[in-house]
Amino acid sequence: MKYALEVKGLGKKYDDFELKDIHFSLPTGMILGFIGENGAGKTTTIKAILNMIQLDSGHIKIFGCDIKKETELAKEEIGVVLDDMFFPEILTPKDINVIMKDIYQNWDQTLFYQYINDFHLPLKQAIKTLSKGMRKKLEIATALSHHPKLLILDEPTAGLDPIARSEVIDLFRDFIQEKDCSILLSSHITTDLEHIADYIIFINEGTMLLSKTCDALLEEYGIVKCKEKEFKQIDKKDKVRFRKNRYEYEILIENKKEFKKKYPSSIIDKITLEDLMIFMLKGEVEK
């Protein structure tokens, strides 16, 4: 299997935060979704991949190239959207085209203008006059216009209204249809990831909590709602996390089929990535 991105044993220590042993691989043609709450280490991992910070430990390869040794080779193949980092806001989309065609060898001016047109962005207006959503669209257009093979996107749909979000998600779907193109996508909007991600990595306080295919997560995990009496009858090891509210217990379970066999009368609800995130972070572990 060919990998667009391989991360092994990634570690980075700050005074108040530590990224510990992050490891994952992104096969070409796939989308990997990165979830976790604010400050969990998603952006730090992305910065490490983009060589914006020095690693304390670990190795990162992009299309087989070690980023410490062959950084520049890989950068031609990457399109990037970062949270709150872009061109100075006095420049215009037209300026960005003028600049980028001398930065990327494969910069496609026609494609860039096509995106600008599709997104209804003004060509000669300074970035500072654009709305947050329009700026995000411009960042995405810029990231896509040199025919990258790997997109690294940190909160690419933040600030977009539902219609614009859907347009952008469709754009990512189209991108992935092209041969050997892959996406690493970090987002708080977990519903977006449910629609397009093949793999999900859940990171919390600098540590990986979960790493599975999105389908497996949504099929295997479930939520069981029950009263206290039933809760006590369920084996401790079958409860990944639980939450107690006023009238009932909600239990996060890991293997729906096995659970149903063991407790035939139970009703298992489907789970969303948001539920999973909330349970993993706010749920209790039975002692």
């Binding site: 983009l50 980092m85 872009f86 600049i99 930065i103």
Partner: protein, 211 residues
């Protein structure tokens, strides 16, 4: 790297109006004999270049630029090359307009005077920028501004102390040493060396910088 230089030049468009107003002001002052037009060059080149750093920092361009091909190297290199381009263009404008002022006043054009003034201005601007760039690349424009202010203030105080307690006339041999075309050549070599040193230090800082 061309793209990075273009970016800085395109950003300077926003300062163009104010630069033109200042240029006209300096022309009027020069015409009245109150100042030399060449003083426009160090003031405006330093202000223009620093404003590009401010815009870069404000929108975190430098972090974004690191993700672009050869980003780290080109961010530093392009600032130095843009500085040289800017100084060249400004020198050209100042030179032409200084000559026009001579003609308008019905004087014979004193090319050597214009050249010496321009040369002094370029040396002054380059000296300031070569001194500032490594600090900006290390600390960012905001912190570097404070460091530069402290540095300039210290130099003024030290200068004051020097004038008060040391016989400055004894140092006049230094000025005679730099006189004439030989002196200009020495200055050119010194400025090339200083710019090279400044660039190397900036690169050293920027190569290790985390974003």
């Amino acid at each position: 790297m061309k793209g990075f230089i273009k970016k800085d030049i395109l950003m300077m468009r926003s300062n163009l109006k104010i630069l033109l107003v200042l240029f006209v002001l300096y022309i009027v002052m020069d015409f009245q004999g109150n100042s030399s037009l060449s003083f426009f060059l160090p003031v405006c080149s330093v202000v223009s270049m620093l404003s590009t750093f401010s815009y870069d920092d404000y929108n975190h361009w430098t972090s974004y630029a690191v993700t672009l091909p050869n980003g780290r190297r080109n961010v530093v290199k392009s600032k130095y090359i843009t500085t040289f381009i800017l100084l060249f263009l400004m020198s050209l404008c100042v030179g032409v307009f200084s000559s026009i002022i001579y003609v308008t006043k019905h004087y014979a054009i004193n090319f050597s005077f214009i050249f010496e003034n321009l040369f002094g201005s370029i040396v002054g601007a380059l000296f300031v920028l070569d001194f500032m760039y490594p600090m900006i690349f290390k600390m960012g424009i905001e912190k570097a501004r404070i460091a530069i202010f402290v540095g300039v203030f210290s130099i003024i105080i030290l200068g004051g102390i020097l004038i008060k307690y040391v016989d400055v006339s004894a140092l006049s041999f230094l000025f005679s040493f730099f006189h004439g075309y030989g002196g200009i050549l020495i200055f050119i070599i010194m400025m090339i060396f200083l710019s090279f040193l400044s660039y190397q230090i900036s690169m050293l800082f920027y190569r290790k910088k985390e974003f």
